[in-house]
C-alpha cells in the first residue's frame, strides 16, 4: 500500500470510505467449515487483553500524535430520542473542529477532523447540511436500531431510505437470535440483503457482542458477516449492558485478520460504546497495530463509536501543549 504514504487521515486528503482506496470486500459464499472452526478461548484472550496496556506505552509527542489519530477515527455520535436539528448541528460543528484551534496549531495538526458523524435516519439531512464541503461522511444507524426486530422489509426499506437521503455509511444491527440459535445461513442471508440494500454506501455490521455473550459466538458472527460482505464489523449499539471491550475487540480483529489472510480483502473494525478515556483509545490503537498492523490505523479501516471520548482527549492534548492539567469547560461542547 505504497500510495498510503501520502495519506494523512484528515479529511483534507484522506477518504474515509474503504472503497475509495482499495477494493471493497465483495463477500463470498458462506463457508461453514471456517465458521465452525472459529474458536475463542476466553481466558487466554482476556490475559492478552489485560497485559497489553502494560506492554505498550506511548509518551510525549508520540502520545499526542496517537490521540490525534484517535480523533481522526472517531464516529462522533448522537443517538438519542431527543435529538433535534440544533443538537445535530452542534455535533457536526464539533466534528469539523474537534480540538481548539490554538491547540491544533501548537501540535501542527490543523485541519484535523473526526472520522464521521453518526446519527439516526431523521437527522441525516441536518447533518449533511452542516457538513457540506467538509468531506466528513454521515453515517446512519439503521435496520430497526438498536434491537433490529422490526419487520424485515421495513429494515431493508430503512437502509434504502437512508442511502437515498445521502448517508454514505450505514450501521446495521444483526438479528442476535440468528447467532444465539446458530442459524448461520440465516445470518448470512440477512447480512447479504442489508449489504445489497446499501448499494455504494458502506456498511458496518453491529454484532451487539454484549448480547451474544460468548466470544465464540462473536468470532463466528464476525466471520459470517464478513463473508456476507460487511465493510466494517462493529461491536455494539451502545445500548447493550456490555459494550466494546478489549477481549471482544481482540476476537473481532483476529477474525478480520483471518478473513484478510484468506481473501485478501481488508474489513474495517469499529469498537463502540464505553470508550471514554484517552488512555482507552491508545490501548485500542495499540491492539489494532499489534493484531492487524499499521494499515488499519486509518479512518477507512478503523473507527471509534464514541460520544464522550473526544472531551477527554482534548483535555489530554491541552495538557501536552501547556504542561498543566486541563478542565472540560475549557473545550467546546459537542
Amino acid at each position: 500500500m505504497a500510495q498510503l504514504g501520502s495519506q494523512t487521515g484528515t479529511t483534507l486528503d484522506t477518504p474515509q470510505l474503504p472503497q475509495t482506496i482499495e477494493p471493497r470486500n465483495p463477500g463470498m459464499d458462506l463457508d461453514m467449515d471456517r465458521v465452525m472452526h472459529a474458536r475463542a478461548n476466553r481466558s487466554a484472550i482476556e490475559r492478552r487483553a489485560k497485559t497489553l496496556p502494560g506492554r505498550r506505552s506511548v509518551k510525549k509527542d508520540f502520545q499526542a500524535a496517537w490521540l490525534a489519530r484517535a480523533i481522526s477515527c472517531i464516529d462522533l455520535t448522537t443517538l438519542a430520542g431527543d435529538d433535534t436539528a440544533g443538537r445535530v448541528l452542534r455535533l457536526c460543528a464539533k466534528a469539523k473542529q474537534p480540538v481548539r484551534a490554538d491547540l491544533l496549531e501548537a501540535l501542527g495538526m490543523q485541519g484535523l477532523t473526526t472520522g464521521a458523524v453518526c446519527v439516526y435516519h431523521d437527522m441525516i439531512p441536518h447533518a449533511l447540511k452542516a457538513l457540506e464541503g467538509t468531506g466528513i461522511p454521515v453515517a446512519a444507524v439503521s435496520t430497526g436500531f438498536p434491537a433490529g426486530l422490526s419487520p424485515f422489509h421495513l429494515r431493508i426499506a430503512e437502509i434504502e431510505e437512508s442511502v437515498k437521503a445521502g448517508a454514505e455509511e450505514i450501521d446495521i444491527v444483526i438479528s442476535r437470535r440468528l447467532v444465539l440459535n446458530g442459524d448461520w445461513q440465516g445470518l448470512y442471508d440477512e447480512m447479504r440483503a442489508f449489504r445489497a440494500a446499501c448499494g455504494d454506501a458502506h456498511v458496518k455490521a453491529i454484532l451487539a457482542t454484549g448480547e451474544l455473550e460468548t466470544l465464540q459466538n462473536v468470532a463466528r458472527a464476525s466471520q459470517v458477516c464478513m463473508m456476507a460482505g460487511a465493510d466494517f464489523i462493529k461491536t455494539s449499539t451502545g445500548k447493550e449492558p456490555v459494550n466494546a471491550t478489549l477481549p471482544v475487540s481482540l476476537v473481532m480483529m483476529r477474525a478480520i485478520r483471518e478473513y484478510y489472510e484468506e481473501t485478501g480483502y481488508r474489513v474495517g473494525y469499529k469498537p463502540a460504546g464505553g470508550i471514554s478515556k484517552a488512555k482507552d483509545s491508545i490501548n485500542y490503537l495499540a491492539l489494532v497495530k499489534e493484531e492487524l498492523g499499521d494499515r488499519w490505523l486509518r479512518p477507512d479501516l478503523f473507527r471509534f463509536g464514541a460520544s464522550s471520548l473526544l472531551g477527554d482527549i482534548e483535555r489530554q492534548l491541552e495538557h501536552h501543549v501547556t504542561g498543566a492539567y486541563s478542565a472540560s469547560w475549557r473545550h467546546a461542547a459537542g
Partner: protein, 780 residues
C-alpha cells in the same frame, strides 16, 4: 519527528523508565557491597563487577565470599535459629508480613534494579517478578501463622543453605526465604554472581523490618561459594539452577543427612491440538518462550503441533515473531530485553549454530541493539532425535515438531530426560483433561503457560529435580517430623553350620513379574535360626535380577492407571490372605529372628494393609486458591517405580509398611527383603500370588543390601529409592540417585518404630506420590 509525522507513522516511540532512583540507591551504598551477615553488611572485599547486560556498564562491585565469610554466616544463622523457631508461628508471621509490605512499598526500586542487573524488560520485573515476590511473603506469613495448628508434628530443619539462579533473582530469593523463615528456619543464601543486587537490597529491607540478626544471611560470589555452602554445617540445601550443578550437589550431600531440594532444568513441551484457539496458542508462546528472553526453567521451549494445522500455525507464529520488540529493557514498550551475560548469549548462539542444517531457522528481521541481545528464534521441522529438540537452550529459542494423535503427542512430550512443565492447548475438555495426567511433568497448564503462584506447588520430576516450592507441599521442604528416631542397631543374621534336612526340600526364589524366579547368578545363602540350625536358603540377587525386576515393574503400568477402589480391594485381599496364614508366618518370624513377637508382627502387618487399603482412595489432591478464574488442581500422582530396601529387624512388617503405601498410591515396587531374615518375604510372595496382585506390581529380591544398593540407585528407569536398611547404604543410595535425580528417602542410620505410629501415615503417602499442579483456567 513532529507530531504530524508520528500521526502518519504511528510509531510507538521511546517510553523509558527512569533508572535514577535505583542508581542512586547503589551509589548511596557506596557502589561496593560486602555480605549481609548477622544483621549487618560486612566491609566490601575482593570481588567482582556486576554489570548491566543491556549496556555493559558496571553497576557495582561485589565481594567474593571466602570460606570464613561462609562459616561466619552459617554460625550466625545457627545461633539465631533456636530463638527464631521459639518465637512461634504467629511471631514470625509478623516479620514476614512486614517484609512483604516493605517489598511492596519499594516495589519500583526493586523492579528497576532487577531490570538493570538482569536485562529483563521492566514490564516483567514490575508486573510479574516483584508482585510475585511480595505474594510469596504474604502467603508464607499465613503459613507461619497456621504452622502450630495445621502442622502440629512438624518442626524446622535448622539452618538452610540456599543457592539461587540469575533468571528471577528476587523472585527465586522469595521462593526460598519465605517458606524457610515461615517454618522457623534461618538461612544463608547466595544469589547468582551476575544478579546479586536485589538480594542485597532485600538485606536492607530485612534491617528495616527489624528482622532478628542472623535469621537471614546473604553471601555473594560464584559457584565456589555455592560449593562452600553445600559443604557447610547446614541442615538443608535448596538449589535452583542447572541440572549439571544439581547433580553435583546431590552427589556432594549424599549420606550427609542434609535435606535437599533441587529445581533444575527443563525442555517443556507446548502441545497444540487442531481444535485449539490457534491465535491464542500463538500468543501464548510469547509468554512461554520469549518471556524473560526464554531464560526460564519451565519455558515452553518445545512446540508440538498437530500435523494438520502445523503449516498455518507456523505461519501465524512467524508473523507474531515479526511483531516482537527487542531492545532497552528499561523501555516500557519492549517485549524482549537483554540476555543476562555475554557468556550466556554466546552459549545460545553456539547451540543454535550447531543445529547442523536440521530444521529451518527463523529469526525476525529486527535490528538488535548494541549490548547483549539474541533475537527470538524458531527452529521448525525438527525430529525428535535432533539435539535441539532434547537439550535445554535457556534462551529465546523455540524448537518445533509435529504429531498426529493424542497418544503420539503424549509419547513425544514425555520423550525427554526432563519433566518440569507442559502446556496443552485444546478447546475440547475431554482431550485436555485426558492429556494432563499423562504428561510427565510437575506442572501442566491447560490453554495457558507460565502461570505461577505461591499457593500452587512448583517443581519437577525426572531430571528437572525434586521437591516443591509453594503450596502446602512446599512446606515439606523446610520441615521435618518432631519425632526423629534413635540410632539404628544393626541386626546380623544368625550363623550356623548344621544342615537340618527338611521334610520336603523347599526352594525360596525371587519374585519377579508375578513369577517365582531363580536368581540370575545361581547362588543362595543359608539362613540359620538363633541356635544355628538351618531354616532354608535365600537366593542371592545380582544386578541382573535388579534389571529384571525393574523391567517387570515398568511393564506393570496398568496398576498406576487402575482405580483407587480397585487397588484398595487388592490390599484388603492381601490382608485377608495374610491373616489366614498368621500362625505359619508368626512361627517363621519367631524362628528367623529368635524372638517371640511374630504373632504381633503379623497382626500389625494385617492392620497396616488395612490402613493403606483405607488410604488408597482417600489421599486426595486439592484445589488451590490461585488468583485466576479457574482451578489449580494439586493432584497426587504415583511416582512410578520405587525401589525399597526393607528394614532388617521386622522382616514382614517392615516390608509391608513400605510396600503397602507405595502400591496403594499406584506405584510398582521392587522390594529388597530384610537381609538377615529374608524368608518372610519369600513366603509373602505366595500371599501376593493368591491375592490378585497383578504381575510386576510387587517384585521381591533377596540378598546383600550393600551390593544391590548401587544397581538399584543408579537404575535410570527407577523413579524413587527408599532405604530403611540396617546396612549403611544411605550415602550409596543418594549418590547413585544423582544420575537421573531420582527421589530418595533414606534413614541415615536412624531407627524407626515400625510397630508404633511412626511406621505408617502421611509421611509414607507423601513419599509415594508427586504433586502435579494442573492449571485449568476457564471461561464460557
Amino acid at each position: 519527528m513532529t507530531v504530524k509525522d508520528i500521526f502518519e507513522s504511528m510509531d510507538y516511540g521511546p517510553a523509558p523508565e527512569s533508572a535514577g532512583d535505583a542508581l542512586a540507591w547503589i551509589v548511596d551504598q557506596g557502589s561496593k557491597f560486602g555480605h549481609f551477615i548477622d544483621g549487618s553488611f560486612t566491609a566490601p572485599g575482593e570481588g567482582f563487577e556486576s554489570r548491566n547486560p543491556a549496556t555493559g556498564e558496571v553497576l557495582a562491585t561485589l565481594t567474593q565470599a571466602s570460606q570464613s565469610d561462609v562459616d561466619t554466616a552459617v554460625e550466625a544463622a545457627r545461633k539465631a535459629q533456636p530463638a527464631w523457631a521459639k518465637l512461634g508461628g504467629a511471631g514470625r508471621a509478623r516479620y514476614l508480613y512486614a517484609l512483604a509490605r516493605l517489598l511492596q512499598k519499594h516495589s519500583r526500586l526493586f523492579a528497576v534494579l532487577e531490570s538493570l542487573d538482569n536485562g529483563k524488560p521492566i514490564r516483567e520485573a514490575r508486573d510479574i517478578d516483584i508482585p510475585q515476590a511480595q505474594r510469596h511473603f504474604y502467603y508464607h506469613a499465613g503459613m507461619a501463622q497456621l504452622m502450630e495448628s495445621e502442622l502440629p508434628d512438624a518442626q524446622a530443619l535448622g539452618v538452610c543453605g540456599q543457592i539461587i539462579p540469575w533468571n528471577f533473582p528476587l523472585l527465586m530469593l522469595s521462593w526460598k526465604i519465605a517458606p524457610a523463615l515461615a517454618m522457623g528456619n534461618t538461612v544463608v543464601l547466595k544469589p547468582a554472581e551476575w544478579t546479586s543486587l536485589t538480594a542485597l537490597c532485600f538485606a536492607d529491607i530485612c534491617r528495616q523490618a527489624g528482622l532478628p540478626k542472623g535469621v537471614v544471611n546473604i553471601v555473594t560470589g560464584d559457584g565456589d561459594v555455592g560449593e562452600m555452602i553445600v559443604k557447610a554445617e547446614v541442615d538443608k540445601v535448596a538449589f535452583t539452577g542447572s541440572t549439571a550443578v544439581g547433580r553435583r550437589i546431590r552427589e556432594a550431600t549424599a549420606g550427609t543427612g542434609k535435606a535437599l531440594t533441587l529445581e533444575l532444568g527443563g525442555k517443556s513441551p507446548y502441545i497444540v491440538f487442531e481444535d485449539a484457539d490457534i491465535d491464542s496458542a500463538v500468543e501464548g508462546l510469547v509468554d512461554a518462550i520469549w518471556f524473560n528472553q526464554g531464560q526460564v526453567c519451565c519455558a515452553g521451549s518445545r512446540l508440538l503441533v498437530q500435523e494438520g494445522i502445523s503449516e498455518r500455525f507456523h505461519a501465524k507464529l512467524r508473523a507474531r515473531m515479526d511483531k516482537l520488540r527487542i531492545g532497552d529493557p528499561l523501555d516500557k514498550c519492549i517485549d524482549v530485553g537483554a540476555i543476562v551475560d555475554p557468556v550466556q548469549r554466546d552459549r545460545i548462539a553456539a547451540l543454535v549454530d550447531a543445529h547442523g542444517g536440521e530444521g529451518e531457522v527463523y529469526q525476525p528481521a529486527c535490528d538488535l541493539p548494541d549490548g547483549c541481545y539474541y533475537p527470538p528464534t524458531l527452529v521448525s521441522n525438527l525430529s525428535q532425535a535432533s539435539a535441539l529438540m532434547q537439550d535445554e537452550i535457556f534462551g529465546p529459542v523455540l524448537v518445533s515438531s509435529t504429531f498426529r494423535t493424542p497418544s503420539e503427542a503424549i509419547m513425544l512430550a514425555n520423550n525427554t530426560r526432563y519433566g518440569l512443565a507442559a502446556s496443552v492447548w485444546s478447546e475440547n475438555i475431554n482431550v485436555a483433561l485426558d492429556i494432563a495426567p499423562k504428561l510427565v511433568a510437575g506442572i501442566v497448564w491447560i490453554n495457558g503457560t507460565n502461570m505461577m503462584d505461591a499457593a500452587a506447588g512448583f517443581g519437577g520430576v525426572r531430571e528437572s529435580g525434586f521437591g516443591r516450592e509453594g503450596g502446602w507441599e512446599g512446606l515439606a521442604a523446610y520441615t521435618k517430623p518432631k519425632n526423629t528416631g534413635k540410632a539404628l542397631k544393626p541386626v546380623a543374621a544368625f550363623e550356623g553350620d548344621t544342615a537340618e534336612p527338611q521334610p520336603v526340600d523347599r526352594t525360596a526364589k525371587l519374585y519377579i513379574g508375578g513369577k517365582q524366579a531363580r536368581p540370575d547368578g545361581g547362588y543362595a545363602r543359608d539362613v540359620y535360626d538363633k541356635s544355628g540350625k538351618l531354616i532354608g536358603q535365600a537366593p542371592i540377587s545380582s544386578r541382573k535380577d535388579v534389571r529384571n525386576a525393574v523391567e517387570a515393574a515398568r511393564a506393570a503400568s496398568g496398576w498406576t492407571g487402575a482405580t483407587a477402589h480397585n487397588r484398595a480391594q487388592v490390599l484388603y485381599f492381601l490382608a485377608e490372605n495374610l491373616a489366614t496364614r498368621k500362625d505359619e508366618f508368626a512361627a517363621q518370624i519367631n524362628r528367623m529372628t529368635g524372638g517371640k513377637s511374630g504373632a504381633a508382627e503379623v497382626d500389625a502387618s494385617v492392620d497396616r494393609l488395612f490402613t493403606y487399603a483405607a488410604w488408597a482412595d482417600k489421599f486426595d489432591g486439592q484445589v488451590r486458591q490461585v488468583p485466576m478464574r479457574g482451578v489449580a488442581l494439586a493432584m497426587r500422582e504415583a511416582c512410578g517405580v520405587i525401589g525399597v530396601f526393607c528394614p532388617d529387624d521386622l522382616p514382614l512388617l517392615g516390608l509391608v509398611s513400605a510396600m503397602a503405601p507405595a502400591i496403594a498410591m499406584g506405584n510398582r515396587v521392587v522390594l529388597v527383603a530384610s537381609e538377615p531374615f529374608p524368608l518372610a518375604a519369600t513366603d509373602f510372595y505366595q500371599v501376593l500370588e493368591t491375592s490378585d496382585v497383578p504381575g510386576g506390581v510387587v517384585n521381591i529380591l533377596t540378598g546383600s543390601h550393600e551390593e544391590l544398593a548401587p544397581s538399584l540407585a543408579t537404575h535410570m528407569d527407577v523413579e524413587a529409592v527408599w532405604s530403611f536398611s540396617g546396612a549403611d547404604i544411605s550415602a550409596a543410595v543418594e549418590k547413585g540417585g544423582a544420575g537421573n535425580l531420582k527421589r530418595t528417602w533414606v534413614n541415615n542410620g536412624f531407627a524407626r518404630d515400625w510397630m508404633g505410629a511412626a511406621g505408617a501415615g502421611r509421611e509414607f503417602l507423601e513419599a509415594a506420590t508427586e504433586v502435579k499442579t494442573v492449571w485449568v483456567p476457564y471461561g464460557a
